[in-house]
Structures are given as structure tokens and as C-alpha cells.
């Protein structure tokens, strides 16, 4: 549990962080340290340079922008879990954040680190994808925005380019008659999602589905958007039988992951069950 030697720089601003990354192309960005440091201690990662962005004030906090919410990349899981703004305007995020790791981890780990690390068992990627979030990046050529659907490229690989850092995540404020749910089947050892289902259901005034989203962590190498299922739900009254029928008929997971604890075939089965549970709970909340 002793990492190899590395140089350490602490950035005071986003601009300085970007400059440091330019000066040290081999550097890794350190935020909460809850993904990177364990890998370094196990000597699975050995970056020669760390650029610590953990004290950059402008990367903190949650802002209400009216129709959107801006969440700074350094916002901890604990802050997500306890945020009043999120509880009122986007409760899916606190519900998922509360299921990450344990209390100590949630106090240190950050939303930015979680998303950039892109572990398939993480809880936030499918949530941000379901919310159709936007990721703000800063780099040597200025800033740019990437939609969540374009962000997760592969197992632990994202659209963040060398020299860039994630500065914030923007998600929409959820409208009326909208309910959300994040349900997770956790790995008993790691606590990661073997299957995590994020559901959003918006109802029309007549009770039929206006729009819906259903995305999964844990079952595939990148978060999986079950667009077929939600497309098929739109326009229907989402009673239990309809949800079950639509999931059974339309949920097709290609290339599921498997390990000694849960095979791919079993994860596909879990996805079906958790899809139904999550959609029903989101519906109930939309109706409430």
C-alpha cells in the first residue's frame, strides 16, 4: 500500500490546473482521491505527476440556473445527498449518491472524479445519462461541452482529452408530474452496482406517459440507455402490467459484463427486474 514516487502540484484555479496538465502530459488529476489513490497504492497506476484540483473553489457547489442545475465537479457525494436544491429539483441524484460506498467515501469522493473514472459499477454515470446531462470541460483550447450520451466511450474511458479537466455537470430541473428512482443491486464486497437502474417518468395530465428514461449501471461496460423500453412506454398508461410487458418485450442488453459473482446472463435478468421496479417507483412518485 505504498505508491511509487510521484511529483505533486496543487492548482489554485482551473486555469492553473490546465497549465500544469499542459506542462506535465503524463500527469493525472487528483480530486477526492477515492479512485486514483487506491490504484496507486496497489501500484496498478503509477503516474509520475499528480495535479491536485481538490482546493479549487470555483469547482465547488450547486447552482440553480432556472431550468438547469450546475453541479461543480468537486461536489462530494455527501453534498449531493444532502443538497436541498437537488432534493427539490432533481431528486434522482441525491437518491443515487446516497447509495455510493459508505459515509467516509461519500465525504471524500466527488461527482467529477466518479464520472471521469467511469467505472461501470459506479452509480452516477447512468443517472447523468438518464438526466441527459451535459459535461463541461476545460482545456488548453478553452472550454467545451459534451452530452452525457457522448461522454462514456468504454470501460473507464471517457471523452475527456489529455490536458482537459471536468469542471461541472449540468442537469435539467425536472418538471411537473415527473418521478424518478434509482435502484441498485449492490456487489456484496465492493458495494458497486451489479445492476443499477435509473428511471425517470413524466406523465401527461391524463396519466399517460409523456416521456421516460431508463438507464443502467453495472450490466455493460458503459452506462446503458434502454431507449427501446422508454419509447414503447410513451403514450401508454403505465400500469404494472404495461410496464412489465414493455420491459419484457423491449429490453435487450447486448454484450453484458460478467464476473465470478454475477454472470452476464444473470445481469440481464437483473436488469429486467430492476427496470420494472424502478419504472414503477418513478411512476408512483410522478403520480404523487
Amino acid at each position: 500500500m505504498y505508491p511509487p514516487r510521484f511529483d505533486y502540484y496543487r492548482a489554485a484555479s482551473v486555469q492553473e490546473a490546465v497549465q500544469l496538465l499542459q506542462a506535465h502530459p503524463e500527469a493525472k488529476v487528483l480530486a477526492g482521491g477515492h479512485s486514483l489513490l487506491p490504484m496507486m497504492k496497489l501500484r496498478l497506476a503509477a503516474p509520475p505527476v499528480l495535479v491536485d484540483i481538490g482546493r479549487i473553489e470555483e469547482l465547488r457547489g450547486i447552482q440553480d440556473l432556472g431550468d438547469r442545475l450546475r453541479i461543480g465537479a468537486l461536489t462530494t457525494h455527501w453534498e449531493l445527498e444532502r443538497s436541498d436544491i437537488l432534493a427539490r429539483k432533481c431528486p434522482l441524484i441525491p437518491e443515487a449518491a446516497a447509495q455510493i460506498g459508505d459515509r467516509q467515501v461519500r465525504h471524500r469522493g466527488t461527482i467529477g472524479g466518479n464520472l471521469v473514472h467511469a467505472d461501470p459499477g459506479s452509480d452516477l454515470p447512468a443517472v447523468i445519462l438518464a438526466l441527459d446531462g451535459t459535461l463541461h470541460l476545460a482545456g488548453p483550447n478553452g472550454t467545451r461541452q459534451v452530452a452525457a450520451r457522448d461522454f462514456f466511450l468504454d470501460l473507464m474511458t471517457t471523452a475527456v482529452q489529455p490536458g482537459e479537466i471536468l469542471t461541472a455537470v449540468e442537469v435539467p430541473v425536472l418538471g411537473e408530474r415527473t418521478g424518478t428512482a434509482y435502484l441498485k443491486f449492490e456487489h456484496p464486497a465492493s458495494g458497486y452496482a451489479v445492476c443499477g437502474a435509473a428511471a425517470i417518468v413524466t406523465l401527461n395530465a391524463d396519466g399517460t406517459v409523456a416521456q421516460a428514461r431508463l438507464c443502467f449501471n453495472g450490466i455493460t461496460s458503459t452506462p446503458f440507455n434502454a431507449q427501446n423500453v422508454t419509447d414503447a412506454l410513451v403514450g401508454h398508461t403505465p400500469d404494472d402490467a404495461t410496464i412489465e410487458g414493455v420491459v419484457d418485450q423491449h429490453l435487450h442488453v447486448g454484450d453484458p459484463m460478467g464476473d465470478v459473482f454475477a454472470s452476464g446472463a444473470y445481469r440481464v435478468e437483473l436488469a429486467k427486474v430492476f427496470a420494472k421496479r424502478a419504472l414503477k417507483q418513478a411512476r408512483d412518485r410522478a403520480q404523487a
Binding site: 456484496p188 464486497a189 454475477a262
Partner: protein, 784 residues
């Protein structure tokens, strides 16, 4: 007994532990101390063709780099021995560092001594080892087949021993006349002990005096001193001092003598500086002896009334790559001898084949052999109940050894001392309200909900043990225990115990025994243990032996103190010795309690020695070496109530009831804690834990990311209760409480799950019973 024994006194150890004032091995600092790190094989089986340590040795801050060749050339014995022999046991050498071949992932290859740990680990990466990878074998049932890779050339078919117990002919006859036979093939899953504190050693060698001091994570410092001296280092025993400071749990894993502690000591002798080694959690996974790992076929023969006629068991026991200290005993004398369970079984035959594989060595882990035996017997009882259409409690009742049949001689060597099995079962049934629970189960099934009720009516053999008996069975150790009690001139008490607590709370329970026997208060008592220079001798703490054997030694020594004190008091009181009574810390002549001499007064006189009875030696001190006449046999009934969600295989434990009989209870708070911890570990085995190797011998579950130790929120609030059947053969009437939970609970949990799944026709699922296994069992995708 007095006011202390039986009282729920808060542990006297805890203030230091919970305020961070306790010193563990890694907390200790010595001037000029260096740090060791050990290079470990990434291959399960490979020939070492070349080791080049030159780059590592040249690094700044590296003091020395050593290989197995260096140890061999130093002239020390340099091996790790096995401490239990069986007939025809193959005992291939286990060098401190591998030389020609590595035999499991984690086998030590070289050691670095450096100024700090960062440098030490950097230097490990600079050592060049050229390996020639060889094919590996990991499954014991496969390893015995022809043509498999050999772990040791001198152990054909990888067989270390082929052992049996019981009467084969009588058992075959029982099966021939049986009305019913049930059979079961099972794998008892391999477990990793996962003590909270990984193993560690600090070694300090004084070349002038030739004395070596070792602070180490030990459950038995005297055993470690003995084996260090004889087998590993060759230093005279009296020149080695082993101290176990605060130790963060062991569960068996810190009984054994491993290479790493001896390597650290040897390094200290080479570099002339104190050297410390602290295992990482990953090293804990790769090198702490694992537990269980059986492949078993078992059959039970019954008559038409559900009376057991015979039991036949064959087990392949995985021993790993080398014989760990007590490895041969665990799947034999701690397993085959327990197969009678709580039942009067007229014929038993058990054959165990101990097998080498390219895996981490396997040895005692909490329960050690007895959980495996209990699982076989209790699973068969449930299968038999189902086959005969009997309630699982009824078939158990029909076969219990009745209370009037004790002492009871089993067909597998043991003689049970005392028991009342029906009483414990009855109490458990009352707690769970069994009749109504069964009705509730039926009602819920109609609603499509599946709850199951599982029983484990278990027996264990604890309090190891009569030395002559274990010696005749192959132990290269005695199993008595010692206590020295010293009453100081002021009447304060110091006890030197050969037991060696590492979480059990001896400082509290032993003080309770002293307080009652001598009538002194707890704050006037000091319990010293875990130091070979302070304690006369001891065999240590494991096998639920400390209260039964160590506590009994203490009780005998205390009686000797009281008797010597009585001689002095009688002299002072000018009375006949037989007229003097001792009560509440005071001696007085029968009928004249107002003319008393306190223990403190007597102690002072004993030391002043101005006026002692003629011929009596001064001072007030006594030592006892207690060798028990028999094992102790705790027993009880555990009941698990679970709900299974068929669509996913998710499991909820709704209730867990444990009624244990550990004999007399010294401290109910501590016994409850032991029971809780044991149940948690047993549920870990049943539902979560499994050390999985791939076919190349890589440990797939090599960290806490993959190997699931149960978390608090996985477990229900346990309902624990007791019956009390005192042990008839030791002075305290205690039986031992450390392993009940891990022995009883795996069978209770699995029986409950299989009961829940009865409507689906599921008969067995191997541990750990994961949701996917349940899902597959329900949906017909394989038996487990």
C-alpha cells in the same frame, strides 16, 4: 460462585483499544529500525530460473536484498515445519523463501530491507526474476487424478495423506439394511480469515547477548518461539523472546508459523538492525492460511422410522501448496470425529484424502473442521427429513443422544461429556414460535412469497485438549495450559497466563475468576499474557480453549493460593487448619468471623516471613499446569428464517435465533459478543465469502473488492439465548464459546434457503449461496 463470575462486566481491555492507546505491532518503533518487504510469486507454479537483485540492492535507501539461496547459505535450518503428523503423511520441505520452484501465487521469492517502506516496495519492483511458468492444479478432487501437475515430486498424485476413521464394514452393513438412503455432493467453500489487523513482526537481535526479541501478531507466542528456534532460525529457545502486543483478531490465522515472521527475524540478524514487516491486506489474502475447501460425498442410511443407521463420508481436503502448522489435524481429527453430531449413530465411516494444490496453504479457521462436519451432518438431516416426510425438528429429536446417555461414546472416537440437546431445541422453538411460523410460511407461499426455516442442532469439541490424547493422534505439541498467580505483599494480584488473547477479553474474564476466588476487587488484579519471557509456558488461544483450559489452570492455581494462605492464617489465628474457612477474601475460624485475617494481611506475613508455620516457604505464589481429562462439548440449536425473492434470488435474513450451551458463563456480555461475531462469520461463509482460483491458480477474489466479508447492514439483529449444562470435568464447568456461531450458522442458513425453495424442488445449493445460484436453481439452469 461469587458476584463476578456470571456478571456482564464491560471489558477492561476496551478503554485502551477504543481510545487508540493500545499498541499493535506496527505501532512499535525502535531506534535505527529498518523495514522489510517480501517479493511474492505472481505464478501459481513456476521454476525459478534466475533472480537478479543487483539493481534493487544498488538503490538508495536499500540496506540489503536476500533470496532463498542467501538463507540456505547462512546455515540456519530455514524451514517452516508441520506440527501435526499422520501415518504416512508426506512432509515436503517448506523453505522460508522459495529456491527452485514457486508453488502458489504469493510464495515468497526475495526480501528487501530498506530505510523506509516506500523504498522497500520500490526495490521489490527492481528485482528481476525469470520464471518458467508450469501448469497448475487448484481443485483437490482433480489434483489426485493421473497426469496432473505435481506440487511436490515426492507426493504422488498430490496426496499428502489418506486417512480414515470409523468402522467401514459395520457402516456398509448399515447401508445394506437401510430403508432410506440420502446422499449429498458438496463443496465446502474456501475462506480467507481476514483478521482486522494483518500479520506483522518487529524483530530485534542483539549480537552481543545473542538474544532475539520478536513482537508479532501471535495467538500462541510459545509455539512460535519453539518453531522459530527448532526449525527456522536455529537460535536456542531461551535466547528468543516472543511478545504478542495488542493483536487485532486471528480466527486461527495467527496460530500458524509462517515464513514471513522468520524471514524478518533472520533479516534483523543479518543487517544488525531492528527490522519490521507489516503485511498488506493483499498479502493477507495471498499468504494467511485459508480455511475449509472440501469436496465431499456423504450418505446417510436410515430405517423406516427415520432413525439413523449409518453415515458414510468421503472428503478431498485441499491443503494448499505446503503443510501449514496444524493443517493435517483440521480435516481429520477436528472433522471426522465430529460426524456423529448430536446424534446416536451406530455406524460411521469417514475417509479423508488430504491433497496438495498450487494454492495458499489451508489450516484452522474459526471452527476448523467442525463447521465442515456440522454442515455435512445437518444438511443430510434435512434431506432425510424431506425424503421421509418428517419435520426437520422431529427427525432430529428421534436421533438425539438422550440426556441420560452421557457420557456418550460416539463411533468416531469422542466421548461427549454432557448435554441436553432437546432442551436447547425446545427453547429455540419457543423463541421463534415455530408452530405459527410454519403456518405463516404456508400462508405466504399461497401469496407467492417464499420464506424458509433452517435448523442446525450442532455439537463441537472444544477446549483442546488432553495432551496424551492429541499426542497419540499426531500432535507435536502438548495441549495443557498454565497459570501462575502471584499475590504481592500488599495483596495485589498478578496472573501470568499461558493463554494469549487477541480480542477474546481474557483480561476481563480471568480477572472475574480471580476476584471471585480470592475476594479481591477487579482493579487489584493484573493479567499478564502473550510474552514468553514473562509467562512460564503456554500453548495459546484457539479452539475455544482459553476459558476451559487456561481458565481451569487459573482456578487450580488460585485454589493453591487459598490453601497456602489458609496455613498461614491458621498459624496466625492459632487454630487448626481444617477449622479455618476462607470467604470474601478473609480467613477466620469457623463461627468466629469477627476475628478474621484478610488475604492482604496474610500476604504481607507471607512475604515478611517473620512468623510462618514451621517448614512453610515464604511468599504467596502458585503455579498450575492443567491438562484437561477430556475435550468439552458445547452444543445448541440455531434457527435461521429467510425470505427468498424468486425473480432475482435475493435473500433476506428475517430472523436468526441462537440457543447455545457453553456450560457455565463467566461473562455473558463477552459470550454474546463471541456468538454474534461467530454467526456473522458463518453467515459470511453461507452467503458471501469464497476464495476463488482460476485454472492457472490466480486468486480471483484477491481483495475486498471481490471477496465479500459480511457488512453490518447485511445482517439481522441476532436473538441469542442459552441453556446451561455445566462441563462436568473442569473446575469452572465451562465449555468454550468462541466458535459456536461459525460452526452452527452455515448449515442453519443453507437449510433455511433450501426450505424456502422446497416448492421449486431445490435440494441443495453450495455455499456461498449467491443470488445467481438461487436464480439458476429456481429456473432450472443447473442444480446450483
Amino acid at each position: 460462585m461469587g458476584q463476578y463470575i456470571g456478571a456482564a462486566i464491560k471489558r477492561l481491555e476496551d478503554p485502551a483499544l477504543i481510545t487508540g492507546r493500545a499498541k499493535y505491532t506496527d505501532d512499535l518503533q525502535l531506534p535505527n529500525m529498518a523495514y522489510a518487504a517480501i517479493l511474492r510469486s505472481p505464478y501459481a507454479h513456476a521454476r525459478i530460473k534466475r533472480i537478479d537483485t543487483s539493481k534493487a540492492a544498488a538503490m538508495e535507501g536499500v540496506i540489503a536484498v536476500f533470496t532463498g539461496e542467501d538463507i540456505a547459505q547462512s546455515g540456519v535450518p530455514g524451514v517452516v515445519p508441520v506440527g501435526w503428523l499422520l501415518p504416512d503423511l508426506k512432509t515436503p520441505p517448506h523453505p522460508l523463501l522459495a529456491r527452485d520452484k514457486v508453488r502458489h501465487v504469493g510464495d515468497g521469492v526475495a526480501v528487501v530491507v530498506a530505510e523506509d517502506r516506500y523504498t522497500a516496495y520500490d526495490a521489490l519492483e527492481a528485482i528481476e526474476v525469470e520464471y518458467e511458468p508450469l501448469p497448475a492444479v487448484v481443485n483437490p478432487a482433480d489434483a489426485v487424478k493421473e497426469g496432473q501437475p505435481l506440487v511436490h515430486e515426492d507426493a504422488p498424485n498430490n496426496i499428502a495423506f489418506d486417512w480414515s476413521i470409523g468402522d467401514k464394514e459395520a457402516t456398509d452393513e448399515a447401508f445394506a439394511k437401510a430403508s432410506h438412503v440420502v446422499s449429498l455432493d458438496l463443496v465446502n467453500n474456501r475462506l480467507i480469515p481476514n483478521a482486522m489487523e494483518p500479520r506483522a513482526t518487529l524483530a530485534d537481535y542483539n549480537p552481543v547477548t545473542g538474544e532475539l526479541t520478536l513482537w508479532m501478531t501471535s495467538q500462541n507466542p510459545h509455539i512460535h518461539r519453539l518453531l522459530m528456534s527448532l526449525a527456522s532460525l536455529g537460535l536456542p529457545e531461551h535466547k528468543i523472546r516472543v511478545i504478542a502486543p495488542a493483536v487485532g483478531g486471528g480466527f486461527g490465522s495467527k496460530i500458524h508459523h509462517y515464513p514471513d515472521e522468520a524471514i524478518t527475524a533472520w533479516c534483523a540478524m543479518q543487517v544488525g538492525r531492528p527490522v519490521k514487516w507489516q503485511a498488506t491486506r493483499m498479502e493477507t489474502y495471498l499468504t494467511d492460511a485459508h480455511g475449509r475447501d472440501h469436496v465431499t460425498h456423504a450418505e446417510m442410511a436410515l430405517d423406516e422410522n427415520g432413525r439413523i443407521l449409518g453415515l458414510r463420508v468421503q472428503t478431498y481436503a485441499n491443503l494448499g501448496a505446503y503443510l501449514s502448522t496444524f493443517a493435517p489435524a483440521v480435516p481429520t481429527y477436528l472433522y471426522g470425529t465430529l460426524l456423529s453430531g448430536e446424534y446416536d449413530i451406530p455406524a460411521i465411516y469417514c475417509r479423508v484424502i488430504g491433497v496438495f494444490t498450487h494454492t495458499t496453504p489451508v489450516d484452522a479457521y474459526r471452527g476448523a473442521g467442525r463447521p465442515e462436519a456440522t454442515f455435512v451432518v445437518e444438511r443430510l438431516m434435512d434431506l432425510a427429513a424431506r425424503k421421509l416426510g418428517l419435520d426437520p425438528t422431529e427427525i432430529r429429536r428421534r436421533n438425539f443422544v438422550p440426556p441420560d446417555k452421557f457420557p456418550f461414546q460416539t463411533q468416531v472416537a469422542l466421548q461427549y461429556d454432557s448435554g441436553n440437546y432437546e432442551a436447547a431445541l425446545q427453547k429455540a422453538l419457543e423463541i421463534i414460535d415455530y408452530k405459527n411460523l410454519r403456518q405463516e410460511q404456508e400462508r405466504l407461499r399461497q401469496e407467492g412469497r417464499y420464506i424458509g426455516i433452517g435448523f442446525s442442532t450442532y455439537i463441537e469439541a472444544c477446549g483442546l485438549a488432553p495432551s496424551a490424547v492429541v499426542g497419540s493422534l499426531g500432535a507435536q505439541a502438548g495441549q495443557w495450559e498454565s497459570a501462575l498467580v502471584r499475590i504481592h505483599p500488599t495483596g495485589k494480584v498478578t496472573v501470568y497466563s499461558g493463554s494469549s488473547a487477541h480480542g477474546q477479553g481474557h483480561v476481563t474474564t480471568f480477572a472475574q475468576i480471580v476476584a471471585d476466588k480470592l475476594g479481591v476487587s477487579l482493579e487489584d488484579i493484573e493479567i499478564i499474557q502473550s510474552d514468553t519471557d514473562q509467562v512460564q509456558y503456554g500453548w495459546g488461544t484457539y479452539g475455544s480453549r482459553s476459558a476451559a483450559v487456561g481458565g481451569s489452570a487459573l482456578a487450580v492455581a488460585l485454589d493453591r493460593i487459598v490453601e497456602k494462605g489458609r496455613k498461614i492464617a491458621a498459624h496466625l489465628l492459632e487454630a487448626a487448619e481444617e477449622d479455618v474457612v476462607f470467604e470474601d477474601g478473609k480467613y477466620y475460624v469457623k463461627g468466629a468471623p469477627d476475628q478474621a485475617k484478610t488475604l492482604q494481611e496474610v500476604a504481607l506475613q507471607a512475604y515478611l516471613a517473620h512468623n510462618l508455620p514451621k517448614g512453610l516457604e515464604p511468599a504467596l505464589e502458585a503455579v498450575a499446569f492443567y491438562d484437561p481429562p477430556n475435550f468439552t462439548f458445547p452444543f445448541g440449536t440455531h434457527v435461521a428464517v429467510v425470505e427468498v425473492i424468486p425473480e432475482t434470488g435475493e435473500i433476506k435474513i428475517l430472523r436468526y435465533v441462537a440457543v447455545d450451551d457453553v456450560g457455565n458463563v463467566i461473562n455473558p456480555l463477552i459470550v454474546d459478543g463471541q456468538v454474534h461475531g461467530g454467526i456473522a462469520q458463518g453467515i459470511g461463509q453461507a452467503l458471501f465469502e469464497s476464495a476463488v482460483y482460476d485454472e492457472n491458480g490466480n486468486l480471483v477474489t484477491g481483495s475486498m473488492l471481490d471477496y465479500a466479508v459480511p457488512k453490518a447492514h447485511f445482517l439481522p439483529s441476532f436473538e441469542v439465548d442459552r441453556t446451561v449444562t455445566p462441563c462436568p470435568h473442569n473446575p469452572l464447568g465451562v465449555k468454550g464459546a468462541g466458535e459456536t456461531g461459525s460452526i452452527a450458522s452455515p448449515a442453519a442458513i443453507v437449510n433455511a434457503i433450501v426450505d424456502a425453495l422446497a416448492p421449486f424442488g431445490v435440494e441443495h445449493i453450495d455455499m456461498p449461496v449467491t443470488p445467481e445460484k438461487i436464480w439458476r436453481a429456481i429456473h432450472g439452469n443447473g442444480r446450483s
